[in-house]
């Protein structure tokens, strides 16, 4: 369960996120909407433990959100912008390496890597290097990297960015499957389609 209680972020004289409270149960999807500059990404960073709120508290599974805490790292996955990619690894190498570091079962890691890439329609790109991908393919690849690791909570910032409508549909399918598997999702998006198809709750942020 995610509990957000009167969380605000202020930098100097600028309010990046006005006080906000919400709650999400296990296996639910919270869609965060709002115009540019209303603090969507800031809220996600706070939830992902990468930014301390100026006031208020965040609790995920009963514990505070601290990105460098070992238990928190196991439970919470986040993609806010593209994850770092190694220039000397192919798409499949990348996803397999991420999966391998989370399990001792090597066959399961390879199967998971293939499965995630297949779910996102990236089968034909196994042998490509990151610099050989288009911007939309890069977005899907970033998502594949995050999905190749286990998580209880998944935090995504505009996963539909740079994607065509068919691939947005793929992403919706993949995220629904994760939710149905018991994961809690927090997704900031500008896509009405993604919001309508995924939302259990919607949080609308107004200009601070």
């Amino acid at each position: 369960m995610i509990e957000v209680d009167e969380v605000a972020v202020i930098a100097g004289d600028v309010t990046l996120l006005a006080p906000i409270s919400t709650m999400v149960q296990r296996g639910e999807v919270l869609i965060v909407r709002g115009r540019n500059g209303t603090g969507k990404s800031t809220l996600l960073r706070v939830l992902a433990g990468a930014r301390k709120p100026s006031s208020g508290t965040v609790r995920i599974g009963g514990a505070g959100a601290v990105e460098r805490d070992r238990g928190f790292r196991r439970r919470v996955a986040a993609m806010i912008g593209l994850p770092p990619m190694a220039s000397d690894l192919t798409v499949f190498d990348h996803v397999l390496l991420v999966a391998t570091t989370w399990t001792d079962d090597q066959a399961a890691a390879a199967e998971l890597a293939r499965g995630v890439l297949s779910e996102l329609g990236l089968d034909a790109l196994h042998g490509r290097f990151p610099h050989e991908l288009s911007s939309g393919q890069m977005q899907l690849f970033g998502l594949a990297l995050v999905l190749a690791r286990p998580f209880e909570v998944l935090i995504l910032d505009e996963p539909e960015q740079r994607l065509d409508p068919e691939h947005v549909e793929s992403v919706i399918r993949v995220l629904r499957a994760r939710r149905d598997g018991g994961a809690t999702l927090v997704v900031a998006t500008h896509s009405p389609l993604l919001a309508d198809r995924l939302a259990d709750h919607t949080l609308r942020l107004d200009a601070a």
């Binding site: 690894l89 190498d93 397999l96 390496l97 391998t100 570091t101 610099h131």
Partner: protein, 500 residues
Amino acid sequence: MSTASGAAIGIWRARNVRTVGDRWFLVYLVHMVALVTVAPLARAVWLSATSAEGLALLASPAAPEVTMLVVAGLWAGGLVLGRDRGPALHPPFLTHALAASDLPRSDTFRGPLLRAGVRVTATTTLVAGLVAGSLMSHGLADPFSAASFTAVGALVGVLATVTWLAGQAFPRAAVPVAVGVLGLGATIAAIPAAQPFTPWGWVGLAYPASSASHTPVALVALAALTASLVAAVPMLMNRLGLTALAAQAARWDSATALAMGMDFDTAAALYRGRAHTGRRALAVRPRNRLAWTFLIRDAIGATRTPGRLIVGVVALAASGVLITLAFAPAAPGWLLGAAAGLMVFAGIGPLTDGIRHAASVAGDFPLYGISDERLLANHALFPLAAVVLVLLAAVMVCSILTGTAAAAPLVSAFVLGLLALFARVDNALKGPLPPALLTPIPTPMGDLGAAARIAWALDGILLAALAGASAALAFEAPLLLLGVAVTFIAVGINRWRHRG
């Protein structure tokens, strides 16, 4: 230049007209740089070239052959450089506007090509003039051969500009042709009978202290070759494609902007070779021990940029040779050690892509199922193994060939390898320029802010040179080495704690 392209370039230049004050400041700046930097440097170079040691080097029997090799290297370097940054290039917007028009490239890109050519030719003429002048000043060359060699220097510069442009026009062929140019240059240098028939040979034959009396023939032959290649310049320019020009202009613009902001690492990364081979071979081959998985992954990853890997290994081997020579009797140990430090720092670069990746992951959201510390340690295994292996092998071979004791250089090389790895880790964790360094640092000698920023930007290179010097002096001044090692570790820990 046609009216249309002249008008377009005129509009571009008119957007930022310098005021009279700006121009006077520029004049002042040029004079100050000339007085404070260029004049002392030029004097030091002249004094070294005319010193007994300098003259012995310039008048040695091997000097013409060495000159041939240097010229072959210059032309080959021009070809390779042209692939990534050619001489015919405007700023991005102007490049796009002119290259997308129907105006011929030979017209619209003539200006930057001429400016680049003048710079290259002036440099080669100056170097040739310096060599010829120093030999003439001590009666080792007559005025005619000195003047001829200076003219040859100018022709070499023009040819270097043409090869630079050729690399830009034929990027795919640039590397194989460059290897051919370099290989032929080395071969011709070793076969005197072939020298009168090749451009490299003509340069060697025109060398002022050369015993051969072929100078006029060599000069005429080189001039004829230059004229014929210059005639091909419009054809080369008109081959330049819009996409390639726009990409080169954008990359150069980003790199210069980053370099101006003292972010030399990111600027250099823009020109780092990209993986292009070995995509069918899995780099990730899961093992029971993750450390092995990462070691193999990094090793296979390095082979995917084979050119970088070869250059890196050669630089590491050269570093091993330098550190061995630093222990030779009467050798300037600290100087050779510093050079070895720079070489090992450069050589280990292509082997540390994994470390740079680990550093960027450590500053981002968790991706791997191991701690950031373990990820970094795993990625350090391959460069550590490679650097120790290559350095120690080079030291052993060099010791056997020179007949010197291997024990001391082996220890120093091992320590230097470790320190270079630390330097690369520190560099990967560096982050952006601290805002505090943007403030002035007033001292009785003036504002040291710029010096501090340069020191920060080049700290990896400076520390690597210091590490090399201290490794060469490890047995004479062990405390210095200890101090350098502690500095490396302290810098690394500090940057690690402030990562992300």
